[in-house]
Symmetry: C2
Subunit: 324 residues, 2 copies
């Protein structure tokens, strides 16, 4: 009888504590960045090496800032500016081309310390859309500005306009030519993003994109939709997505990861897997991925595609770059 | 000893079922609509009566359709078209004016049966933005189209363009004049929306707005942001928001209500109160409200402002209109 009572008490304790996980020790800082997700394709070794090298350079920019004690929001913004300026990624210089032959860019940033957020969508003449998003967050009462209204605001904040052709690269022009000739499918998955935990415990997320190649004029994906492609909350996690934006919006991907951690006690890895593999995978569409860093510096990089360009580093010495 | 074992077993059962609430019997159908929230202000009795009468007329449109077995998505869309066409609400005809003296409209619709969604933002020449949002959902691979790209798409779907002045009313032109003379504050809270459960168990949400009066050119609020001002999921709830859109976006209000029900077992009333009173109320800003109907036909109408124009009805005979 005593054994039965003990067994029951033990079972009760298991039940009571099942929602409560042991937290890993907090990292002093952590950073993850991505340069988009996509179907596995064969890349020439020198192209692959070049991408890994670029990811490493972007990581180095962020890592150095974090070692100098700079804050998460500044690090995430700066790394995304670097990726926007790099013509090899689909954001800023090197953005994809719409079906009408122009570039329309989206970006968002969120500060986990106060849930402030800023975003721009459908802008055509702002060199670094992430800086415009940052101004929306810090210098306007709004969260989301679109189109020419966003450009006009960015210029009033001192961001000089660039000609739309600034964003073009020979590769992107060739890509839209092939899409129009039906030799290539529109690719919804290129994006750049960065999530950061700084040594003060603040989280931030920043994401920027040229959107879906060959997209319809005026189409906006998940990136500037807070809670879909971008989210940060010091209480839980910072998330930046890259994928088939329409699915990310319909599933509120970034906020859902935070909600699963907050309300169901999942770890960041469990929550990211649940959303990307358990929910997105069950919908039609071509998928993508997320990068996440939680309030304790734990990292998750989950994708349901063949590859996601990514890099990560933590104060404790974890560091890497990967594609597949 | 036997008593102790029974007590322990009883305690275990309580623990196991604590996340599981008794559900009220499912209503055959239920509908809630809103015409915006705002600070309590003294209204002339005839103005107040007129609003209650308009809310009742809109409710009648939806109720009749539900009694005829029409589906949630069609009912929510039709009711919002009615409210857009009514010049007394801030959506469609009667929309507020931006700081630049024009009308820019946002709308979104979501089908809880398949998580399909459509939205338009910053459109200036679509008579019924909710119909454009519906076309985005059903006739494009996208979720969100903005500005002239959205208008171009809407026209290609057979929605004829209207001149921007169609949306103007003498009251809105007087309002922006007073805002510019600093005699009145910009008001972020007018919106219309409708949430519906149909007799097949399908949920739908539709929301439409002229946005914040005196808003900056290009500003987009929560309405077309899926998960912020509009959300529907047959597994949980349909939500339509009206409020200070920036707060609704930063808090992912509509999806959070669904997540609290799904992951924490809250009732729709508990979840709506937690988000509107427990979370939004703690942020700066002027608030607003939400209308919700869950998968069992339970209704919640929560607001942290002095008033929210609203009406509701269920198959079991609940019916009403209210402002305060």
């Amino acid at each position: 009888m005593k054994n039965i009572v003990l067994l029951i008490i033990f079972t009760m304790m298991s039940l009571s504590f099942s929602g409560c996980r042991q937290t890993e020790p907090r990292e002093e800082w952590a950073i993850v960045l991505h340069g988009g997700a996509g179907s596995a394709r064969s890349m020439a070794p020198e192209v692959r090496d070049n991408y890994l090298n670029l990811l490493d350079q972007a990581l180095e920019v962020g890592t150095r800032m974090l070692q100098n004690g700079e804050k998460a929001l500044d690090v995430a913004t700066r790394v995304v500016v670097w990726l926007e300026d790099c013509p090899s990624f689909n954001a800023g210089k090197g953005a994809v081309v719409t079906s009408d032959g122009i570039h329309e860019l989206d970006a968002a940033v969120m500060d986990g310390s106060n849930l402030m957020a800023g975003a721009v969508a459908g802008v055509r003449d702002i060199k670094n859309p992430i800086l415009a998003a940052r101004h929306v967050m810090e210098d306007s009462p709004h969260v989301l500005l679109i189109g020419e209204g966003a450009s006009s605001f960015a210029q009033s904040m001192g961001l000089p306009p660039v000609d739309n052709s600034y964003f073009s690269t020979p590769e992107r022009l060739e890509q839209i030519r092939r899409i129009k000739m039906k030799k290539e499918d529109p690719d919804p998955k290129g994006t750049v993003g960065c999530v950061v935990l700084d040594s003060k415990g603040n989280l931030a997320a920043a994401t920027s994109t040229g959107g879906m190649s060959g997209k319809r004029w005026g189409r906006v994906g998940d990136v500037p939709v807070i809670g879909a492609g971008t989210y940060a909350n010091n209480a839980t996690v910072a998330v930046s997505g890259t994928g088939h934006g329409e699915l990310w919006i319909r599933r509120c991907v970034a906020f859902d990861i935070s909600a699963l951690m907050d309300y169901k006690g999942m770890t960041v890895k469990e929550a990211a897997r649940e959303v990307i593999l358990g929910k997105i995978d069950k919908m039609e569409g071509s998928g993508g991925g997320v990068i996440c860093v939680d309030k304790n510096g734990n990292i998750a990089m989950e994708f349901n595609t063949g590859m996601m360009f990514r890099a990560w580093a933590t104060a404790s010495g974890q560091k890497g770059t990967a594609i597949e």
